[in-house]
Subunit: 252 residues, 2 copies
């Protein structure tokens, strides 16, 4: 289908087209499309723009990534389809591996994702081999198996578009968890150390800009940013923004 | 994938499985899965139950269907996949045809949907033949073509899970439009004569119950119900309910 650039919903329609294509080549699964739709609805309640509270969370996330000893970016099919190139850029910038970790796991899909990421320039892609696997306890699905060189030994894990079970398990394993999730009420959002309630399409490029800006800051300054942050308070701020949006409609 | 009945999200997970199966047999298109996800998010903000304002809208919708000369139920892939059997039941009850009208139109898909509906017991399925087509003006997509025996001559059209363009065009064509849409802010919700903000999985069975209950009411009583209704006021009531839900979370 050809979408006119003049269509009021051009951007979200073209993102949908990208996911549909990713479905046809096996990067995304049908359930991923449903999850994307859920995100779209919450994004709508944010006016489809990065909120002040999300910007705040991004600063903290960037500082945390830059002060971690071993940060890892965990990706699923939707993340790779939507912002694969930006994830590779961010990983290069912070010197972290990218680990593929799928809810609907298959060796074929892992390989499709890994080769796509490598074509985009990724050097360190983990999660596709049965060697070097360790187990994160408390996860019912195959997602519990992680790479000992990646999530297994990470102190900070960036998890865009995650499921709640795994977010909780990573937190229990005493890792710092940075979540990107448009639903501020999700378990992932609630348990993460830093929750960025924003569309991943805007959040990853924005995170790259913040990391670039912070590269010259001292470790002490960065640590100060991470310490003066209350994630639940920040999420409540997002909820207030959504409430204001709905209230604005109420008077229409 | 086998979902445990004890999973806290069993119901929504099994609905997702049903849609994924419908995708594989060509009843649903990938974009339909994304649309379903959007609905899920709004349903979440309603606590996944039928609100008082939705019940109110259902009563008015039932009265409108029972007092119309030529009501038609318009269906797309998602509606057929999710509540096909209930749509057939409702159509029989109010003596209306079912017209297939797809955003992502193909002759093959129309035929798959029609034969599925007929297997479920539908007698009058329209929208699959090029004969008897008329055009509803103001719609960019192929959805503008409708059956002269169906939507073309209908005074009331029930449109579960509709796009805004067509809802507006039907309204301009001076038809009464009953929408079932979980997004109270959508154009469909805003332009409809009666908007039921509810999950179609709950709304169609509930509508059947209300129609059954009203069958013995006089035409005058039914007309009174349809006249004393302010759709925008009722939508604002739904918005208030969503705001209350979000506020409840804010204090958690």
């Amino acid at each position: 289908m050809n979408i006119s650039r003049h269509h009021p919903r051009y951007l979200s329609l073209s993102v949908r087209e990208r996911l549909t294509e990713a479905l046809s080549v096996g990067i995304v699964v049908p359930q991923g499309l449903i999850a994307h739709g859920r995100g779209e609805a919450f994004d709508y309640l944010l006016g489809e723009k990065t909120s002040l509270s999300a910007s705040k969370a991004m600063s903290v996330a960037a500082a945390l990534l830059l002060t971690s000893n071993h940060p890892v970016i965990s990706v699923n099919g939707n993340t790779v389809a939507l912002v694969g190139a930006d994830v590779v850029r961010l990983a290069t910038l912070i010197g972290s591996p990218i680990e593929i970790n799928l809810f609907h796991r298959s060796i074929r899909r892992e390989r499709v994702l890994a080769s796509y990421l490598r074509r985009l320039g990724a050097r360190d892609v983990l999660g596709t081999t049965k060697k070097a696997q360790v187990t994160v306890s408390g996860i019912a699905s195959l997602r519990r198996r992680v790479d000992v060189r990646g999530i297994g030994s990470a102190d900070t894990v960036l998890i865009p578009l995650e499921d709640g079970d795994r977010a909780e398990a990573l937190k229990r394993a005493r890792k710092k968890v940075i979540a990107i999730d448009l639903n501020p009420l999700s378990r992932t959002s609630q348990v993460a150390s830093v929750t960025i309630v924003d569309n991943v399409v805007r959040a990853i490029p924005a995170l790259i800009r913040v990391v670039n800006r912070m590269h010259s800051m001292s470790r002490i300054e960065l640590l100060r940013i991470t310490r003066n942050f209350d994630n639940h308070k920040n999420i409540r701020r997002t909820l207030r923004e959504m409430i204001e949006y709905l209230k604005g409609w109420q008077t229409n």
